[in-house]
């Protein structure tokens, strides 16, 4: 520690490579959110369904996603499925693990948003001659969007940070993976990881700031 001399120049020279990695990170995060939101809606509907056979697996999914480490979820997607003969590439396993996690958290967010909107809103719409689906789309959905927007963007930030767990399943093209490789080649551990942390930080802050701005523009009531 005491004879460690900082060598930032080498780290900065690797910056373009790291930023390429950051793009992959964003790509995984965005994809995992799109997949996660789709499954979140399905899970939320299933958990509200009358059938136990729909409710039970959906509840299990949400419980595991929310109460076990994300690392475990990504491991299961890679090594767990691997032992059943289903081999996912590091990219696919990381994506699947994070999407699984996103779906669990977001389904609870969506369910909470739905519960927050009283039935009387639908009744008022139906009284004006709207069909059930139409009233849901025109009256309930926009209100759900407002309630769940910032929590969903929080999950996006969380998804971005979770991508760093990909190194444990051999992912080497995202920001964490690239950084790990650079470190292995040069042993400039502190410099590379500090730089990577700054990049994660800037992305996370930018996403949250943009979300706040968008929320302020979109939801004027």
């Amino acid at each position: 520690m005491f004879n460690y001399t900082f060598q930032w120049r080498q780290a900065f020279r690797a910056l373009p490579e790291m930023l390429d990695g950051a793009l992959v990170t964003l790509q995984i995060a965005v994809l995992s959110m799109l997949i996660g939101m789709t499954f979140a809606v399905i899970l939320a509907v299933a958990r509200n369904s009358a059938s136990r056979w729909l409710r039970a697996p959906a509840t299990a999914w949400v419980e595991v996603a929310r109460n076990t480490p994300a690392l475990f979820q990504i491991y299961m997607a890679h090594f767990g499925l691997g032992s059943f003969g289903i081999y996912l590439s590091p990219f696919a396993a990381l994506l699947a693990g994070i999407a699984f996690n996103n779906a669990g958290y977001l389904s609870e967010t969506f369910r909470g948003a739905l519960r927050a909107i009283p039935d009387t809103q639908i009744r008022a719409g139906r009284s004006l001659g709207m069909g059930q689906a139409q009233a849901f789309r025109l009256i309930v959905m926009p209100q759900m969007l407002r309630i769940s927007f910032l929590p969903t963007m929080n999950q996006t930030v969380w998804a971005i940070l979770m991508t760093s767990l990909g190194v444990t399943v051999g992912m080497n093209t995202d920001l964490a993976g690239v950084t790990q490789d650079l470190n292995a080649r040069s042993f400039r551990t502190f410099e590379f990881f500090a730089l990577a942390a700054v990049i994660y930080y800037v992305i996370a802050k930018a996403v949250m700031l943009a979300s706040r701005l968008a929320a302020w523009r979109m939801f004027r009531y």
């Binding site: 009744r123 009284s127 004006l128 709207m130």
Partner: protein
């Protein structure tokens, strides 16, 4: 014309309407009074088909409300309803609250819908609030907006369910004035109300509900001046 014939309605084991018969003619204003839980609100939500009934019939202009073949969405366009809780759509401005169904249900253009909405909102005294969100309105203003929203669909009938009960006393007057105006214009109305003065002054007939039965119905003078049934007398002596 709304024809209600021997309507029975239960929630589970609880029978809430026990054989209601009532006919409301075009242009008539009927007030419904009665104790809490006597089935007044339930009757209104049965008339526009929000609630199913067990037996009997409700026929609106020749269409049986609860027949399987009835297009309820279409039928509801001619039966407006305003609830005790205003049910404003919080994510839409006052103007948009009114134009939503005009555009999405009646298929009117934005321009036409806004013209109708602005006229109706002016009618209830909200002409200067078009761009405001309901969260910024007082209860009385929200309720008048809900009335304008129902009126904009040009319904043939309007059902009012205790539209002043959730309001502060000083705001009740402005909403009742709106209802009076409507009655004078010849709108067909069924008003569930606790406002006895309103029921006496505005309605053609007053119906008294008691434990799921329409115990008595008649002209306001008769119901308030010379009620025949002991339940009616007791109810009226308690509210006054």
């Amino acid at each position: 014309m709304i024809e209600i014939e021997n309507v029975h309605k239960s929630f589970g084991a609880l029978e809430v309407l026990k054989g209601i018969d009532l006919t409301v003619e075009k242009g008539e204003v009927v007030s419904v009074i009665g104790g809490s839980g006597s089935g007044k609100s339930t009757l209104l939500t049965c008339i526009n088909g929000l609630e199913p009934i067990n037996t009997g019939r409700i026929v609106v202009d020749g269409t049986e409300v609860h027949a399987a073949s009835t297009d309820l969405n279409r039928l509801r366009r001619k039966i407006g309803i305003v609830f005790q809780q205003f049910n404003a759509f919080p994510h839409l401005t006052v103007l948009e609250n009114v134009t939503l169904a005009l555009r999405k249900v009646l298929g009117k253009s934005r321009g036409e819908a806004e013209e109708i909405a602005a006229r109706q909102l002016g009618h209830v005294g909200l002409g200067d609030k078009l761009k405001v969100y309901p969260g910024r309105l007082s209860g009385g203003q929200q309720q008048r907006m809900a009335i304008a929203r129902a009126l904009a669909m040009s319904p043939d009938y309007i059902l009012f369910d205790e539209v002043t009960s959730a309001l502060d006393p000083q705001l009740v007057g402005e909403v009742l004035d709106t209802l009076k105006l409507l009655a004078e214009e010849g709108m067909t109305m069924i008003c569930v109300t606790h406002e006895m003065n309103f029921a006496r002054d505005v309605s053609h007939r007053v119906a008294f509900f008691h434990k799921g039965v329409m115990a008595e119905i008649g002209a306001p003078d008769q119901i308030f001046g010379a009620p025949e049934r002991p339940e009616t007398r007791e109810f009226l002596s308690n509210v006054r």
